[in-house]
């Protein structure tokens, strides 16, 4: 156990976590540059393109330290976005220490802080690393000050590094060996292991990633997943090199994988405790939470013929994403589809993109919603995340919506603008801290519904990219909610219905109508787009009709050409959704989704 070090790298997006991980993998000799693909830990294309890690993974790095000993450094990768903070916390719970990466040019960000707090909660050893010192804009001294003043860490323990150029990386490896304590645990005690991730393998079923705290896990053993209360027989255990490497057993202190004939990723909960079925540990490891979706939207195929393909794609997708939920849903306007739950807007974006890219589907997403709570006059409490299920307004005693505590960090000069943004989004109970003279940490309590659209984008543009954002869900609060319907030529487009606070209903309705007007092409009829609350029209726009569209000359030589042109146009039309006699392009639904404000 003394030769093992379990650690994570935590960093704000783009601060260079993946690049550093790659360098460490190279230094450990797991790969030569010929087979080396940049950023090995981010395996999916989308992760690579967006530069964010979505799923955590782990890898064991053998390292010969200056003291002559060989150590096994288990790097547990963590997702780098607020949507996935629970997964981050489970990964950190599997470690004894973290490398805290700060960009030498950008300095400490809200996410850095949020992750640092998580690490501190788990009593982890923290090694601050200042990355990207090769950048012309690098300001190492300022970042050292931030590390001391804002993070309360000893700046002289910081390591300077350029992961891109490879400088400082051996120092980091050495610091991991020397400063992070080896895991403690007792192989003789009953088995207790923490699940921090799971992945689907087409041949072996679900591969569970775990950290063993006490006891031993090996093939043939019957293990119990304590929260899910399921029992499996272990088929194989091992650790991760660049590929899975089978081992005799995993024991206290080890990080590795477990294969046990588990069909679905959804059968495994991140944060669950694995124990021996015959000799269980006294209690599960602390901190288990069910990863609950907080943002909901419906997915429909553009062409109803594609429904079966969508079913297959969702089944396959779900295999690898336990936090994604879906169930059947149908819309008058859009036909058969699915109501889906996501951890957040980024998660939603990723799912949409993967369905379109990996499964070649054209889908429409309805306006995302949070889960509202209604206390009905008959005393019943119902949770509604689908506007289609909005209760009779007469039956509602009290309506509530989820609130978050948002933490934002940015240079002081943007305080006024950010305050205004938060107040516009119905923020309350603000808190201002000055971790250092020029920097503000602003906390606000905000309705979740008002940040799920473009809040983060607005924050970034208001602060010229210097603002960062993190949030926790805190509670439900009373809210004057209404159901906003969107009508196209008098027909309700149920996929565009939204539950909103009365105070913003008109603005939201106008905004939606305007967006639709921009995106729906002119057609042969005048198209009226209306926003309505309880039968009362509160917003209206019209799209004027097409008046002239005909080829002037159409004789012998023109007919084939013309037919081909019309065929193309007909195909284009097929990709639009018909609502009554109006064709609505996918982009119209997307634009409503992207542009709304709470």
């Amino acid at each position: 156990m003394d030769s093992i070090r379990n650690f994570s790298i935590i960093a704000h997006i783009d601060h260079g976590k993946s690049t550093l991980a790659d360098r460490m993998i190279q230094l450990a000799g797991l790969t030569n540059s010929r087979t080396f693909r940049d950023q090995i830990l981010d395996t999916m294309d989308i992760e690579r393109e967006r530069g964010i890690t979505i799923k955590s993974q782990a890898i064991t790095l053998p390292y010969r330290a200056q003291d002559g000993g060989t150590y096994y450094l288990n790097l547990i990768d963590t997702p780098g976005h607020v949507d996935f903070s629970y997964e981050v916390s489970r990964s950190l719970a599997s470690c004894e220490g973290v490398v805290l990466l700060v960009d030498a040019a950008q300095g400490v960000q809200a996410q850095t802080l949020a992750n640092l707090y998580l690490a501190m909660e788990h009593d982890l050893e923290i090694i601050p690393v200042i990355n990207k010192i090769d950048l012309p804009a690098a300001d190492t001294e300022r970042v050292m000050e931030q590390i001391e003043n804002e993070l309360g860490l000893d700046p002289f323990g910081s390591i300077l590094c350029s992961a891109k150029e490879g400088t400082g990386v051996p120092d980091i490896m050495e610091a991991i060996v020397q400063r992070i304590p080896p895991p403690r645990g007792d192989a003789g005690k009953p088995l207790s292991a923490l699940i921090f991730d799971a992945q689907y393998d087409a041949f072996r079923g679900t591969v569970v990633f775990c950290r063993v705290f006490d006891g031993i896990m090996k093939a043939g053993q019957a293990v119990r997943f304590m929260h899910n209360d399921t029992v499996y027989r272990v088929e194989e255990v091992g650790r991760f090199s660049l590929v899975r490497e089978k081992k005799e057993q995993l024991e206290a202190g080890d990080v590795g994988y477990l294969i046990a004939g588990i069909k679905n990723v959804a059968d495994v909960s991140v944060g669950d405790t694995i124990t021996d079925d015959h000799r269980p540990c006294a209690a599960p490891l602390p901190g288990f939470k069910e990863a609950k979706p907080v943002v909901f939207a419906s997915i429909y195929p553009i062409a109803s013929d594609d429904y079966e393909e969508l079913v297959v794609a969702l089944e396959k997708y779900k295999l690898n994403d336990a936090s994604f939920t879906y169930q059947k849903d149908s819309s008058v306007a859009l036909g058969q589809g699915f109501r889906c739950g996501f951890l957040g807007l980024l998660h939603l974006d990723i799912v949409q993109e993967r369905l379109e890219r990996e499964y070649d589907l054209s889908i429409i997403l309805s306006v995302p919603s949070v889960r509202y709570r209604f206390i009905l006059k008959n005393g019943e409490t119902v949770y509604i995340e689908n506007p289609a299920h909005y209760p009779e307004s007469m039956s509602i005693e009290k309506a509530e919506e989820p609130y978050i505590r948002a933490t934002m960090m940015f240079p002081e000069q943007y305080l006024g603008a950010v305050m205004k943004l938060c107040i516009d989004r119905r923020g309350e109970n603000s808190h201002i801290n000055y971790p250092s003279p020029e920097r503000v940490e602003l906390q606000f309590e905000l309705p979740l519904s008002s940040v799920i659209y473009d809040f983060y984008d607005s924050l970034k543009s208001l602060t010229q990219g210097y603002g960062s954002f993190d949030y926790d869900i805190i509670d439900y609060r009373e809210s004057d909610l209404v159901l906003l319907d969107i009508l196209v030529n008098g027909e309700k487009v149920d996929a565009l219905s939204q539950i909103v606070n009365r105070a913003v209903a008109r603005e939201r309705a106008l905004n939606t109508c305007e967006r639709l007007k921009e995106e729906i092409p002119r057609q042969m009829f005048k198209i009226a787009i209306q926003g309505a609350v309880g039968g009362e029209i509160i917003a209206r726009t019209t799209i004027s009709a097409f008046r002239k569209d005909v080829t002037a000359k159409c004789y012998g030589g023109d007919i084939t050409r013309k037919r081909k042109l019309l065929e193309k146009q007909k195909k284009g039309k097929k990709r639009m959704k018909m609502v009554g006699s109006v064709s609505i392009p996918q982009s119209a639904f997307v634009s409503v989704l992207k542009s709304d404000k709470g």
Binding site: Q523, K548, V550, T551, A552, K562, K570, K573
Partner: protein, 376 residues
């Protein structure tokens, strides 16, 4: 017998005369200005006629288009017509049309023409506004138009068509109305009023693509279209196709109706298109290749296609909706089933109407015929 609206189901013969004195910068039809090849073109044409000898029984229209058929000398024209009459059976009441450029026809030409079977002359007037004619790069002026129409009438031609163009850049509605009024004073049997269309590959089309030419907007073009239709109908003209008007039903272009009714037609000459049953084929748009292929006993085919039922259906809809005869309202196979909604709305909205078991476009519907075809 030919019915009142001058439509028939017998095949039509089209002969493309690919020669012009000058090229008009907006024109997309194939032609060359070097007329030295006319004699070999006539030889080739007669060879091509022989290819099809016996294949088409009976033509009841012959149409000499171009290009500019009026650049042919009387002898050349006679050789073309004689060739056609020798190779094919052509009915006695055949509609024989020649396209002519104002200014090309003089008394000699007309006295010759009177002795040929040509009984219909379509004159490329385009405008009575000299500024518009100059913009369009025409080699005639409005006075040439008047002279030619006078000559035609004096020599007894009682079936004259005039071609006019509107929505020319810089053309005002007032200028267009003046042209329309003058055209009406001549009481032509047929009027074609085309919106200027700029095709890629023409000089004006290229200037348009480069942003150097600006066309009137949709609302303006719609106004031109509606004004034209209303004005001509007021004088009793029948707006029987998007761009075509007949003074009486019997003056519809029998030949052109074949294109819109899926009736068989044989096109001869470079770039000419033919259609029969579910087959369509067309010749090289090159005088040289056309001549050399036929000299080597090859058919000068550029391409051929077989139309599927789906292709034919789409054509029947989009061609049918170009004319006031519309489409068969009792043929459900014509429509995509989900289009029924749209059909109902088009009927309710006054773009289409039911007439004698057919679904026919109204004036506003004609202006949107392509859109309608896409939707139905």
């Amino acid at each position: 017998m030919i019915p009142d609206n001058n439509t028939s189901t017998l095949p039509g013969l089209y002969i493309h005369v690919p020669f012009c004195v000058t090229k008009c910068p907006y024109c997309n039809f194939y032609s060359v200005t070097d007329r030295s090849a006319i004699p070999s073109w006539i030889n080739a044409l007669r060879r091509e006629m022989n290819w099809y000898k016996g294949e088409f029984e009976h033509f009841d229209t012959v149409y000499l288009g171009g290009g500019t058929p009026s650049v042919l000398s009387p002898n050349e024209l006679a050789a073309v017509l004689d060739g056609a009459y020798e190779a094919f059976t052509i009915s006695g009441d055949c509609e024989v049309t020649i396209e002519a450029n104002p200014g090309d026809i003089d008394e000699d030409f007309l006295s010759f023409l009177r002795d040929t079977p040509v009984n219909r002359v379509n004159l490329g007037v385009q405008s009575f506004d000299d500024a518009v004619l100059a913009y369009l790069g025409r080699r005639h002026d409005s006075e040439d138009c008047r002279t030619s129409i006078n000559l035609l009438r004096n020599s007894g031609y009682d079936n004259i068509g005039l071609d006019l163009i509107y929505a020319v850049p810089g053309q005002s509605m007032k200028s267009w109305k003046v042209t329309l009024e003058e055209a009406l004073r001549w009481k032509p049997e047929h009027l074609s009023c085309y919106e200027l269309t700029l095709e890629t590959g023409t000089p004006m089309g290229r200037r348009f693509a480069d942003g150097d030419v600006e066309l009137p907007g949709e609302d303006e073009r719609y106004d031109f279209f509606m004004t034209t239709s209303e004005r001509l109908e007021k004088d009793g003209y029948i707006h029987y196709e998007v761009s075509n008007f007949a003074r009486r039903e019997t003056f519809r272009s029998r030949h052109n109706m074949k294109y819109w009714n899926h009736v068989t037609y044989l096109g001869l000459g470079p770039s000419a298109h033919s259609f029969s049953g579910n087959r369509r084929w067309w010749n090289h748009a090159s005088v040289e290749r056309y001549i050399s292929d036929l000299e080597h006993n090859r058919r000068p085919l550029e391409e051929r296609e077989s139309l599927t039922d789906k292709d034919l259906r789409l054509e029947r809809v989009f061609l049918g909706l170009r004319t006031i005869d519309g489409i068969d309202g009792n043929d459900p196979a014509l429509f995509d089933p989900p289009a029924n909604n749209i059909l109902q709305q088009c009927l309710a909205d006054g773009l289409l109407e039911h007439r004698a078991g057919r679904i026919v476009p109204t004036r506003r519907g004609l202006a949107l015929a392509d859109q309608l075809a896409v939707l139905l």
